[in-house]
Symmetry: C2
Subunit: 228 residues, 2 copies
DNA sequence: CGTCTTCTTGAGCCACTTCAAGGTAAGTGG
DNA sequence: CCACTTACCTTGAAGTGGCTCAAGAAGACG
């Protein structure tokens, strides 16, 4: 088990660099100027929060990438979602987090105090509605993810690639921030199977692997066909 | 594809009995007297709403049982949740439903107009908060369900039984409203595997099958051990 | 250049699926 | 009340997709 660390320490973990001084940021959640807070830098694989911890903040990715996950007692890990710049996460928790969150690559994260969010909600019905819609969107993602887990290995990898392509700016070339192990744990497969499916998709000229983390979608129709 | 049916027709579908006259009910959602509506009877396997339909209502199970599910184009079905008396469902949808819902057995369902709910939310922050908490709870369930789908067949069946036991009143004897096929589609297994795991758990004296739909938990510790 | 991490590939295996058959229970009409 | 039907559940035998184990290749970095 990892020792509980304060935010400042977490930022240093494995990153090798001193954490950015928390600074007030012009960025704000739900387009509400009040909903802002400190921006903190997290190193690669640094824990942002752990399962079971009190949820004192809500988070937004400024730069980098984040994974949220649950682990079983025997070590099996299920990654529930990846978050890219602009994405909010850790919002759904009531009292305490029921997932852990880690930075995949060095990342800048905006932390907004939950107490601030709660205060805003009380007098701003619009923010309350958007918060609710955000959680509903997370639910939708989670259910789609559940549907993904009953598909074949090739379909899962195809779905993952299409999903990532849809979120990144460039629609056909994707830069993956995560390792094959992360992808495997997200798709409920082993690292070897992910790798094999990638080569398989390459052999069928559906994708092209420029570098292991840089993928180009060559035949979008074929990928969509695998997706249904 | 099923033809779109109005509520009255749906209730008759396969049920063989005329639908109950919609009647005002003393029942109300979130303990708010305003949040009430018509109570409607649905026959076995009757569709309550379909994926893609406008979400004009929110629902609560009065009696019976409900399944929500998604289907892939090739017919594979993933049941996302079972709902028992007292449970609300179909709440998360914004514009349209992204799951279908069916009555598993003849069921009485309370239908509350979404327009009514939206109106109440605007002037009652407490109801808004509870709605949000309800959707968050659904998200939590969905993520736990995702975690379940990476486990072994025996672990999945054990988790299902423990989950059902926790929701039914009697903690050790369970009456399952759903078929083996429903359980299989919920757990991402085949009907044969579910059946085999059931007999396996019986042989290890972990459970006892009184009738195919009536299960007694004989060794709760062993089931919990499989759950972690 | 060496070390460490990450990724790929191969060979064998196993848990679950597929296919097939039979059994059980509930309902229906004669 | 009993033959017949239908839906549901169980069990067996064979097949297979993805896993495990093992080795090596390709980068990243000091």
């Amino acid at each position: 088990m990892l020792t509980q660390l304060k935010i400042g320490q977490m930022a240093q973990m494995r990153s090798g660099v001193a954490p950015k001084q928390p600074m007030t940021s012009p960025l704000a959640l739900f387009g509400c100027a009040e909903l802002t807070g400190a921006q903190v830098a997290f190193g690669r694989n640094a824990e942002i929060y752990g399962e079971g911890e009190d949820s004192d903040f809500v988070y937004q990715v400024i730069s980098g990438a984040v994974r949220t996950y649950k682990v079983l007692s025997d070590g099996r890990r299920q990654i529930t979602a990846f978050y890219l710049p602009g994405d909010m996460f850790g919002v759904e928790a009531g009292g305490e987090h029921w997932c852990s969150a880690e930075a995949i690559v060095p990342s800048n994260i905006l932390l907004v105090r939950r107490s601030v969010l709660n205060r805003v909600i009380d007098h701003d019905g619009d923010v309350a509605r958007r918060l609710c819609a955000h959680i509903a969107a997370e639910l939708r993602h989670s259910q789609d993810h559940g549907l993904l887990l009953i598909k074949s290995a090739q379909e899962r990898v195809a779905a993952f690639l299409v999903g990532m392509a849809g979120r990144a700016r460039g629609t056909t070339s994707i830069d993956l921030p995560m390792t094959r192990q992360d992808i495997a744990d997200y798709l409920g497969l082993t690292i070897e199977t992910v790798s094999r499916m990638m080569t398989q998709l390459t052999e069928s000229a559906t994708i092209q692997i420029i570098a292991s983390r840089r993928i180009v979608l060559r035949n979008r129709a074929a990928l969509d066909e695998l997706n249904h």
